[in-house]
């Protein structure tokens, strides 16, 4: 009884606590180490869809470089892609342009900075911290997908399909229109209501929620909530895929394309400087529609009166000439597989060769078979959001421009391969081909947030950030040593270990380090000493009325509750920050939270271990505190 109680209060640590500390030190040093080694200039070669790299590809890359006399530092293969490290960035740049030429459209050749982590560290999974865009430079976009438009598009599609079904079933109707959030079907004969309902339910199961209005002979057909949510999900997925393809065209080494919330997409392109080009490619929400020209009506009259003939819609050419097109779409940008720009060998004018998918090809064949000699138009649809001030209030207005870029006579029937001509310049043909090739978007998108950091700014942020960490850290070390002497030095060792552990944890989690994140680390350094200050002040206080050993023991024990309480509340604030913050704020919250947890460990367990070694149960007369 007596013995065991004495053990509780004695200032020695069991062996396992020292072992725990030793393990923590070894692990944190190992995983923090990769950050010391810097980067190699590298070129990353990844295959485009459906292409697979083999030994031949590797040989081709080697010979291409050997011919130019460039010796790569290292040639690595990671799953599907190759990573070539170079000795200098001159080599890197030259290699990229050579390889881009050699690989053609089979691969995306991008510049990259590959961490120069030694093999030994890499084998245990140690990697340097992932630097945020504000530290490495690059572009961050937040895209907003127009879900209302996606839903509207779905309704439009069902208008066409329903009409076909009704025709087949010989149900006569006065009109079928897309209203706000429903389709409105007006029947000619109200007695056909029952039959119509059963036909709709049979042909489109689990799609609509029909609401018949017997009196007026109308059926309103709103889409089921489930169908709408699926439409939204699909639109988002399709847009992400499309963005990924478009970004591959840009040649970015580590692009990040991620869903955020239920209608936003985050795009981060590290190292991209030409934001204008990036924006053009990402932001232009252009789609194509192929429609037949309505030859019967008079477009000029339609423009004057504002009424288009039944089944037709009024459009304009880019120069403002009116033209009437049929309401039904033959194929849309969704069906486009490939598009190449080139020069028409006969006319010498720029053209785009288009390849459609199977379904698109079938529809095109069916249409062109019956319409040889008629004209087919290509409608280029561009979406833009304008902010307009109206009566002092800022109102957002969505403008959709629909330009007919080309209306050409169908020379013969064709299916999935054809050419679009009548483009203004080779540049326009190239841009159009690029947009078509990358696939069309399921729903229009707009950029709602952009953050671009130039490379010099990124480097400055790194320098300033690290310098402020070092200066702040040094100041704290000096003050602690000055105020608490030996105990202060012990606390400083713990503080250093704390910093190493934070870096190790951030590297291990591959959390993104941003400038606010660095600020969080700096703040942690300032606050981490709090635990030690609390302990040391308590020891001083206890020394007034108890022996040295008791004072040390009581100092640690009594301060612990306070430290825990205080840190939990700070952690609470950090968690709130994390759950509500976006990008940079999250980085700050992460480093702050990690810092709080690690500082509790190092300040309590770490310093106690050292203090016990120095003073624990030894006949000391005076503490250097």
């Amino acid at each position: 009884m007596f013995e065991s109680r004495q053990k509780i209060i004695s200032n020695t640590y069991p062996l396992w606590k020292y072992l725990l500390l030793a393990v923590a030190i070894v692990l944190s040093v190992t995983y923090a180490a990769p950050n010391l080694f810097g980067d190699d200039p590298a070129v990353q070669i990844s295959p485009v869809k459906t292409v697979e790299f083999d030994q031949q590809t590797a040989d081709r890359i080697r010979t291409t470089l050997a011919e130019a006399g460039i010796e790569p530092k290292q040639f690595e293969r990671h799953q599907e892609q190759f990573l070539l490290r170079f000795h200098s960035s001159d080599d890197q740049l030259e290699a990229r342009s050579l390889l881009k030429e050699a690989m053609g459209r089979q691969a995306v050749v991008a510049l990259n900075l590959a961490p120069a982590t030694p093999e030994l560290l890499r084998s245990v999974g140690a990697q340097p911290m992932y630097l945020g865009l504000d530290l490495r430079g690059g572009v961050h976009f937040l895209m907003d997908v127009d879900m209302e438009a996606a839903i509207a598009k779905t309704y439009e599609r069902y208008v066409d399909e329903l009409k076909a079904v009704l025709r087949e079933e010989r149900i006569r109707y006065l009109g079928l229109t897309h209203e706000d959030d429903e389709l409105l079907l007006r029947l000619r004969d109200a007695s056909e209501m029952e039959k119509t309902l059963s036909v709709v339910n049979a042909e489109f199961p689990q799609t609509f929620e029909p609401k018949p209005d017997q009196e007026n002979g109308e059926i309103s057909l709103p889409l089921l909530a489930q169908v709408k949510s699926e439409t939204r999900k699909y639109a988002l997925k399709q847009n992400i895929t499309t963005l990924r393809n478009r970004i591959n065209e840009l040649g970015v080494a580590e692009p990040l394309i991620q869903q955020q919330g239920d209608r936003r997409i985050v795009v981060q392109l590290p190292g991209v400087q030409d934001t204008a080009k990036a924006k053009e490619i990402l932001g232009a929400t252009a789609t194509l529609e192929f429609r037949l020209v309505e030859e019967k009506g008079d477009p000029v009259r339609a423009e004057r009166t504002g009424y288009a003939p039944n089944g037709a819609r009024l459009y304009q050419f880019r120069d403002g000439r009116p033209i009437l097109l049929k309401r039904s779409i033959i194929v849309s940008g969704d069906n486009v597989i490939d598009a190449k720009s080139g020069i028409d060998s006969e006319a010498g004018s720029p053209q785009v060769s288009v390849t459609l998918d199977g379904a698109g090809g079938r529809k095109m064949l069916a249409t062109t078979k019956e319409n040889v000699g008629n004209r087919m138009a290509v409608v280029f649809i561009e979406n833009r959001v304008d902010t307009i001030e109206k009566d002092g209030e800022v109102v957002k207005k969505r403008t959709t421009t629909k330009d007919v870029i080309n209306a050409a006579v169908i020379r013969g029937q064709f299916a999935n391969r054809f050419q679009i001509t009548g483009l203004d310049s080779p540049q326009e043909a190239q841009d159009l081909a690029l947009l078509l090739r990358a696939g069309a978007l399921a729903a229009p998108m707009e950029i709602v947030e952009e953050r671009t950091i130039g490379p010099s700014m990124g480097q400055d942020n790194i320098n300033q950030g690290f310098l402020s960490v070092i200066v702040g850290f040094a100041l704290v070390l000096v003050v602690m040593a000055f105020r608490y002497k030996v105990f202060g030095m012990v606390a400083n060792v713990a503080l250093t270990l704390n910093l190493v552990i934070i870096v190790a944890v951030l590297s291990l989690l591959q959390a993104t380090l941003t400038l606010p994140g660095i600020a969080g680390i700096v703040l942690t350094v300032g606050m981490a000493v709090d635990a030690n200050v609390l302990i040391f002040e308590r020891i001083r206080e206890e020394m007034r009325h108890s022996s040295i050993q008791t004072a040390i023991h009581a100092g640690y024990e009594k301060a612990f509750v306070t430290i825990a309480d205080a840190n939990i509340t700070t952690l609470l604030a950090a968690v709130v920050l994390f759950s509500f913050g976006t990008g940079p704020i999250k980085g700050f919250a992460i480093t702050l939270s990690i810092g709080i947890l690690t500082s509790m460990f190092t300040a309590i367990v770490g310093t106690r271990a050292v203090i016990n070694l120095i003073y624990g149960n030894k006949p000391v007369q005076k503490l250097s505190i």
Partner: protein, 334 residues
């Protein structure tokens, strides 16, 4: 015990209250009169930062912008004479994401001096609205979380005291931003949430000691007991504030312009938070009538623990004495 009551902080409770109220009134007045200089994170708009090779002609850039119809644009030097910050309010009838490209093209055409793009930030108006809403919500949630935690851990009157101190700190920090018109952006909001964490940390440490004193100090009014706690924690409060302010000073001096507002908010918050943890939080708990009994009841077990602990101490002391005696004997033998 008496020698620890070096300063009678609680005597200045009244004056501190008046000072706090004056500061709060000034902050609210600042918010009402000048308002906050919100950054584009909240208002939406475009920021373009450029670095010229030589000192930039700010007036020429301003004229160029004006000539091209950017009436609501502000141009100023940022950090150094070579660096320029262009701020453009959300524009009607303009595809907003394209503004930065247009301005860059325009300046490249109009000026011979070479410049380099440092950064572009564009925030759409609806994103700004969402951020404002989320920001306000996060402040409220943080305060509610604190209220609950402190109420559970201590007593609801302490909890009210802590939250009142937090509202006090946050309001004054925001007030400083209103009067100085330093830009209030997302990082400043983050700093204010961090201030909540820091100031609370300070308050809790004092409360913790008040609670302990209520249990261990037998005589003395609640005011005396609280005053003792503030005195006992004084060295710690000053030491932690000093180290934190030191690193913040490093941040504000070296961290660069982007981090300036962040560091400023924290510096103000740390200073005000230190003051409020000493004067505001406990004063309010006292004013609400916190007494010894309130804290004794729920912590019966704690009391037993401390009794046990004291017993352990006694035993330990005896052992120590015995050992020291043995060592003295050993030394004497030598």
């Amino acid at each position: 015990m008496q020698n620890e009551q070096r300063y009678n902080f609680m005597r200045f409770r009244g004056q501190a209250m008046i000072l706090s109220l004056l500061l709060l009134a000034a902050s609210v007045a600042g918010l009402a009169i000048k308002g906050l200089n919100f950054g584009i994170d909240f208002t939406g708009g475009t920021i373009i930062e450029l670095a010229y090779d030589e000192p930039a002609d700010v007036d020429a850039i301003r004229t160029a912008l004006l000539d091209n119809g950017y009436e609501r644009a502000s141009v100023q030097n940022f950090g150094s004479a070579e660096e320029v910050l262009i701020r453009i309010a959300p524009r009607p009838q303009e595809s907003s994401a394209q503004i930065s490209n247009q301005v860059m093209d325009m300046l490249a055409n109009q000026h011979n001096e070479a410049f380099e793009l440092r950064r572009v930030e564009f925030v759409g108006p609806q994103v700004g609205d969402e951020l404002t809403e989320d920001g306000a919500l996060s402040l409220i949630y943080a305060l509610i979380g604190v209220l609950i935690y402190v109420a559970l851990r201590f007593e609801f009157r302490f909890s009210l005291g802590a939250v009142a101190a937090l509202v006090h700190d946050v309001t004054i920090t925001i007030g400083v931003f209103a009067w100085t018109q330093v830009q209030f952006d997302l990082t400043v909001l983050a700093a204010i949430l961090a201030v909540i964490g820091y100031s609370l940390n300070d308050t809790i440490v004092v409360f913790d000691r008040v609670r302990e004193n209520f249990r261990t100090v037998r005589d003395g009014t609640p005011v005396d007991v609280t005053n003792l706690a503030v005195n006992q924690m004084l060295a710690r409060t000053i030491m932690t504030s000093v180290t934190t302010l030191l690193v913040l000073a490093a941040l504000i001096a070296i961290g660069g312009e982007v981090i300036y507002g962040f560091a400023l908010a924290l510096i103000v918050g740390v200073v005000v938070g230190t003051y409020s943890s000493m004067f505001v939080a406990s004063s309010i708990a006292l004013a609400l009538g916190v007494s010894k009994e309130d804290l004794m009841k729920p912590v019966k077990e704690g009391e037993d623990d401390s009794a046990q602990e004291e017993e352990l101490h006694r035993i330990f002391l005896e052992e120590e004495a015995k050992r020291e005696a043995r060592e003295a004997q050993a030394a004497a033998k030598k």
